[in-house]
Amino acid sequence: MLYKKKWPLLVFLVPGILFMLVFLYIPFLNNIKNSFYDMTGIVELPGMNWKFLGLDNYKKMLSDVNVRIAILNSVKMMVLTVVFEVGIGFVLAVMVSNIKKGQQFFRTVYFFPIVISATAIGLMFKLFYNYNGGMLNQILEAFGKEPVNWLKPELALLMVCVPTLWSYVGFYFVILLTGLSDISDDIYEAASIDGCTKFKQVFYITLPMMKTVIGTCVTLAVTGALKVFDLPWVMVPNGAPQGLTHFMGTYMYQTAFAMNNYDYGSTIAVVIVILGIVVAKAVDFITKERS
């Protein structure tokens, strides 16, 4: 009876839409507008007249070396998140789903890094990487080795990616483990009777039946990689060293809030959204095609 009358649904849906309109969609549209003006402050106060720049900010992005580095690093992060976060999450999920005792223990252990604040993880790893007295160099010095600058230009991106990837494996592990639990045991039993090994079952049963779930995880992973900010910013602010570890999110933040170049930061934010939509659509297309 409830669904014959539509207005009760509206009563529950409208507040959420209003909230998103005020705090998400309107600011987002404002952000697009701001990217076409020279913002001399974070808001346009009465009496101020921001100069109209047209597409100047977008043209500037084409020649900005930092944008190129940020996009490249974001693409690398996307690939790494798919391979390591979703990949390792899948392997762990398959292994854990095959054990009878201790499943709950492993679910907790692997999921635990998710509940730790990314800022805390970033600070922890920053301490590990410290050249003077950091944990890794203390271990090296205990073995009589010279200390290493773990965040030097040649190593910095890798050292930033390690904790970023590690902290989110558990998230995909739980999603994939839940997906695995939906596959009936009868199918595996039938396959075993027909002589299919456990290893082959993964490729011929598990993977095909998990396509949709894996596709969702890949979409989440690549769009998440594009937005990554907190961990890298805490460890290597301003794309340190020398701008080499910039991601789109961190470069946008630095431009807007460290350099006070709000309009250029708005431009980068718009491009992040566009890239996110393009990447999500591409992943969706690839996943659907194979289905």
Binding site: P241, M259, N260
Partner: protein, 246 residues
Amino acid sequence: MTAIETFKENGIIPIACSLNNVPHYWVEFLMLYAAGPDGYTEVPQTAPADWVKGLETFKTLRDLGAFPEDTDTVDDAYVGQLFKDKKAAMQLDGSWYLGGVTATDTTVVIPFPGIEGQKAEAGAMVGGISSGFYITKKAWDDPDKRDAAVKFVMAHTNKDAVQKYWNGNGQAACAVEPIDGMSPLAISGLDYSSAATSISAPTDARIDPEAYKVIIGGIVGISTGATSAEDVINEALTLNAERQAQ
């Protein structure tokens, strides 16, 4: 330079500075000493050679190994701790920094050593008192309140009052006497600020904040040679001119 080489030979980081986080003090002093107070306090349209020379000193110092190995990635708190732990020899900071130094018997404040071919006189300082007492227009225009307001301000800004407010911490607004129990560090700080040959307000007090951040953001690139000091200063001054015109 000799100090830098000597400290390096003895395994001590010569200068505790995070180029990625707070190079501000070095930016100001290098430009002041290169250009002299007059050149430093002007707001030109294009990059003066002296300012360029000042900022290029970052590369010279970095090539000498003056900064920490990880100066590009650490923050100001970390390098400050290196100094307090005696792993770094020299720190350039504001007068408030003295309060956090515990080794008050073995740490001293010395004048900025200067650079080769400098235009500033030895003892030139970047500084200034930016807060104080004010009388509102309302109080000034009120005949009943004006005298009281003036007496209030004079009571808080005469030498005795400044001595009490200063209490041995930081820079005083006028000449003060050392107080009893001052540590050798605090006394050396007082001697340093009393002997200043000139005090100039920092650059960020004269140019647009966004323009100033272009200079600060460009310091790492200048120190590695990836960017030229002239380009960074010109970009900042161009932006400053645009902002001033609006």
